[in-house]
Symmetry: C2
Subunit: 347 residues, 2 copies
DNA sequence: CTGAAAGCGCTTACAG
DNA sequence: CTGAAAGCGCTTACAG
């Protein structure tokens, strides 16, 4: 019942440690015959490598780059904070994480950042990107140079990215639609959607999902044309205020992107008896407070800590050519109302 | 910028490796003077131990026992499955997890199981327990014999347990109350609660939370006396069917404990135009299907995988006398509706 | 294509 | 109270 090691496998296969290592890690230069012997021995002994010993023995560490949006979007800032925290923790896993900020709204800048990545410097890249042809090309080119690429938060659908880390945004939009429909009485009214930009695929997908549910199951609700708030507090505030003033029948409001702080300010300034049911995204301190106060009715969230750790694990699996655990890497769509806010969050 | 090791610290402090190890791991038998020197050196070099090397070097592994309820409660079965899966994965962290099943409803059996635990055999125990005097005493006694104890899922409040791994069940009940209140039109009606047993503190707390919200914010809803379904499918089905037949004004139904499969069967058998808004707990395949079908309106959940891993981490931290990361060990109250069901769950 | 030996950063008896 | 040395299970040059 004692642990079987690489020594045991070597002995049983009648080869040296080095050869076992070669076979087990799929390194080249071993005869098929020898490979078979070693694999059989490992199989029979039910050998499981010790990753601690392995990580201790190898000196080189894998280097991953996280390309995140710059600017004051609170969720993206959380994401960056989590990346830095994770960078600390994974240091001992022999992976080095670095974070670089780029302007997500500037396609050319992002494309050039991607194309300037040196394959000799990074084994993998995680990127939050717009879904545009120039970006797709840059990602394809990067992968051809041998760098693994995962997309983060917003997917670049047809690009040859290795993996997408984020939520199903159509489903997230459907959640918003369902909550608005269920929270509202069965009576006519108008629902407004404010997104950052439809050029970001996650925003477009949320709009699509929300609209689909509303149209299918709540036909008495009228969905107004989508407004763009550019993920900006000031612009979002203005947009929301205009809506609140010009649409007396407004009963539902869904902020698809960021700028939630502006949305909250607008709702507070335009307080009226019949406040619309309001849904927004991401658990930031301001959003939590607004939920607490009743200004917001629900929050649809994704956990930035999980996402960063998932991206790092996936990149590592890609480099090591090991399988990923699908269930573990699925990012959940979280729903928060006042009652299940994590304690201490509004501190 | 190269990694500083225990060798560097030893050199700088002018002592041997063994002494550095003694100081850093708070082992006895070092002069205060020497301790100070070593600590200063570690500080100045910003030394961070490599846990991989440490775990590789020490042969003994920590042994933890998980005492879980026996029986067919699907959530508890998930919990057991996660424990076994985790047992596999943490083997290389030098911790050995074992699972033992006991009858949770039998206080004497649980108390005796606790008192029979040999401190020479286990460093820590995680237990799902009723909050009864005999259990508290057994836990206290176990801790006095030097075994760390964490309570799992349902807390034993005044016992000297080291930590509780689970959700805030009062808050979970409040979520149920809020969802029922918000999903329902503003009109009179009756709400029924079915729990397993009020002797389990998690059930009692959920009842309390749900009732508090309903009474405070939805005074036009009448909360019926709580029924007990013993976490059993058959009993829960009967209880639900009786309610559906005898209470024509029933508009809300909250299944606080297990037995959800029976609840679903009852709702399907008694299909009527005005089905009550129904909330239950835990994401099991049957519950997911019922959510999909519209028989259930929402599910309030806790992630059994997270809970098992958290319990293992906390126990390990207790043994190693290291700090726990509070945020990481907080178990979230998850809300599922049809739209955010993890893909493939009803598969 | 294969093997012997050193070394990764710690911990652990064993001496003294 | 302190230190020298072996060893944990792997990987990595270096030879051959």
């Amino acid at each position: 019942m004692t642990k079987t090691t690489i020594h045991d496998v070597a002995a049983r296969a009648g080869v040296s440690l080095a050869t076992v290592d070669r076979v087990l890690n799929r390194r080249p230069g071993v005869r098929p015959q020898t490979i078979a012997k070693v694999e059989a021995a490992a199989q029979e002994l039910n050998y499981r490598p010790d990753p601690y010993a392995a990580s201790l023995a190898k000196k080189r560490s894998d280097r991953f780059l996280f390309l995140l949006p710059e600017g004051r979007n609170p969720f993206m800032q959380q994401l960056a904070r989590e990346a830095l925290a994770t960078a600390d923790r994974v240091l001992m896993d022999r992976v080095t994480l670095s974070v670089r900020h780029v302007d997500t709204f500037d396609k050319a800048a992002l494309a050039s950042a991607l194309s300037q990545i040196d394959p000799a410097e990074y084994e993998g890249v995680a990127v939050v990107a717009q879904d545009a042809p120039v970006i797709r090309q840059a990602i394809d080119a990067l992968r051809e140079r041998g760098v693994h690429v995962v997309t983060l938060i917003s997917d670049v659908a047809t690009a040859g990215r290795d993996h997408f880390v984020g939520v199903d945004n159509v489903a997230a939009g459907r959640v918003a639609g369902r909550l608005i429909g269920r929270f509202l009485p069965q009576a006519p009214g108008k629902v407004a959607l404010i997104c950052g930009t439809l050029a970001l695929s996650d925003h477009a997908q949320r709009v699509e999902g929300c609209r689909a549910v509303l149209e299918a199951d709540y036909p008495y609700l009228e969905v107004l044309p989508v407004r763009e708030g550019r993920d900006d507090d000031i612009l979002t505030r203005e947009t929301a205020s205009n809506l609140l003033k010009s649409e007396p029948e407004l009963v539902g409001l869904y902020n698809v992107g960021s700028g939630t702080r502006g949305l909250i300010a607008s709702l507070e300034a335009n307080a009226s008896p019949g406040k619309p049911v309001t849904i927004a995204h991401e658990l930031t301190p301001h959003a939590a407070q607004a939920l607490e106060a009743g200004t917001l009715d629900a929050l649809i969230c994704q956990d930035p800590g999980h996402e960063i750790r998932s991206a790092a694990r996936v990149l590592k699996a890609l480099v090591d050519n090991t399988a990923i655990v699908k269930g573990q890497e699925r990012i959940r769509i979280e729903i928060y109302i006042r009652e299940n806010l994590p304690f201490g969050f509004t501190g």
